[in-house]
Amino acid sequence: MDNLTNKEYQEYVKKKVPKPDYLKNAIRAFFVGGTICLIGQIIRNSLFRFGFDEKAVATGTAIIMVFLGSLLTGLGIYDKIGKFGGAGATIPITGFANSIVASAMEYKREGYIFGVAARMFTIAGPVLVYGIGSSIVVGILYLIFTAGR
């Protein structure tokens, strides 16, 4: 054991850890993510039927999906969907709602200011920072390449 190097040990440990079943996870993610998107599409179509215009429908659909994600989080159901569906449940907007509501619920005991409000974005924060950040970068690139046209 004295001759064992860190690298040798880490290589050895890698062999001892069972690999995740990528195919099974991908299929589950596909169906869970697909189902969430299907629900979103149904809501979208229904809103059109109520006579809203494109902009109002886009906003309305997002609002309803966020509401559903939050509600299922509050009821203690979304974490089970996430456990089953993995990224299929995390990537859609419902997963975004889950990350915020779960944090808000968790840190309520630390108070409404330093608990709920301050820590609500512990998981969603990076998504917001880099999501908004990258959209700004893309916007600037767009401006540069279309300037003067």
């Binding site: 054991m1 064992l4 860190n6 040990y9 850890v17 995740p20 996430g82 889950n98």
Partner: protein
């Protein structure tokens, strides 16, 4: 001259301290596991009527200490020292408990190695003639650990196969200068081993080399072989860590396949209860020792047992900064009679 030391790292007690009372309190999930009948109290509600998981954990530790003292037929004022620790920052569960218990207190941070770390220290304090009765205790809570180390409970994340499930529970052991046994006869305190594992969801692999190091030194110092023990049980290495220990010990010429297991494997049915690589947490080795091992020793199933709690001594800050996980393992030999 340290006359009680043998070999490099081991202490052999001349007047082995006796374990005269133990207790174990666990949460509902642990109560559904295979060791249910060994625990003194199984909670139906893991908040135990408290406003936070942290308070629930402190209450478990307090009640476990009181129960162990009661089981030893003593009262709190008979106890000279309380030695305890837990996982939460600044070991709040233990300090708030010590506030309620109101006796001289040493707080430890040994992460999940706390149970045997406290027993090592308590045994030496008693052997040295500094106390007649010492209580050792520790606790952990799945929900208080999750919120400190991982994600909010309702967050829909997937756990890796190598991840382990923190035990909700508390265990306490009362050691005495006199008693009818079981006795602590040897201890081999561990040193930190760190082979550069940074994955905090594979703590079994991070701690396994420390366990191997302690075992090798223990066998070398005492002259025991694995077969001299009826049971060798580590703290919370889980399925992966146990496999690594058996493998590495085999390379060193020790066969552990017969009588070595891990508390993190014993406490849950890993398949049925979906705990992936097993259990972890300070309470893991604490409740398995104070419940299962101690009661089976009393019955006579085991006469000589090596209990070795294992700890991963990283923090949320160190792991975010990419530092590896320092592992430790403290071994305690417990014998029914001497």
């Amino acid at each position: 001259m340290a006359v009680k030391r043998i070999g490099n790292r081991t202490i052999k007690f001349q007047n082995p301290p006796s374990i005269i009372g133990t207790s174990s309190i666990v949460g509902p999930k642990e109560g559904d596991g295979p060791l249910r009948s060994y625990f003194d109290l199984v909670l139906e509600d893991d908040t135990w009527g408290q406003k936070s998981f942290e308070k629930a954990e402190a209450k478990m530790q307090e009640e476990a200490i009181k129960l162990a003292i009661k089981n030893a037929n003593l009262s709190v004022n008979d106890i000279h020292f309380l030695i305890s620790g837990d996982l939460l920052s600044q070991i709040i569960s233990s300090s708030y408990t010590a506030r309620e218990i109101g006796i001289p207190y040493f707080g430890l941070y040994g992460a999940c190695s706390t149970m045997t770390e406290s027993m090592c220290l308590a045994a030496m304090i008693i052997e040295g003639g500094f106390a007649d009765y010492v209580v050792c205790a520790t606790s952990s809570h799945f929900s208080s650990a999750e919120r400190q180390f991982r994600f909010p409970l309702e967050y829909g994340a997937q756990r890796k196969f190598s991840s382990q499930w923190t035990v909700t529970g508390a265990g306490a052991t009362v050691l005495s200068a006199n008693g009818q046994g079981p006795y602590i006869t040897y201890i081999t305190p561990g040193r930190i081993r760190d082979y550069g594992i940074t994955d905090t969801s594979n703590m079994g692999a991070a701690m396994a080399p420390a366990a191997v190091d302690t075992l090798l030194n223990h066998f070398k110092d005492t002259g025991f072989t694995p077969m001299d023990y009826d049971l060798i049980i580590s703290g919370d290495l889980g399925l992966i860590g146990r496999r690594i220990v058996i493998d590495m010990m085999k390379k060193e010429g020790y066969d552990l396949s017969e009588n070595y297991t891990d508390s993190g494997i014993k406490i849950f049915d890993t398949v049925e209860q979906d705990t992936h690589a097993g259990a972890s947490g300070c309470a893991c080795s604490a409740v398995v020792f104070n419940g299962y091992v101690y009661k089976e020793m009393k019955k006579g199933t085991f006469n000589r047992v090596l209990v070795m709690s294992t700890g991963a001594l990283h923090s949320t800050t160190s792991s975010l900064q990419g530092e590896s996980i320092p592992g430790i393992a403290h071994a305690v030999t417990i014998e029914k009679s001497i």
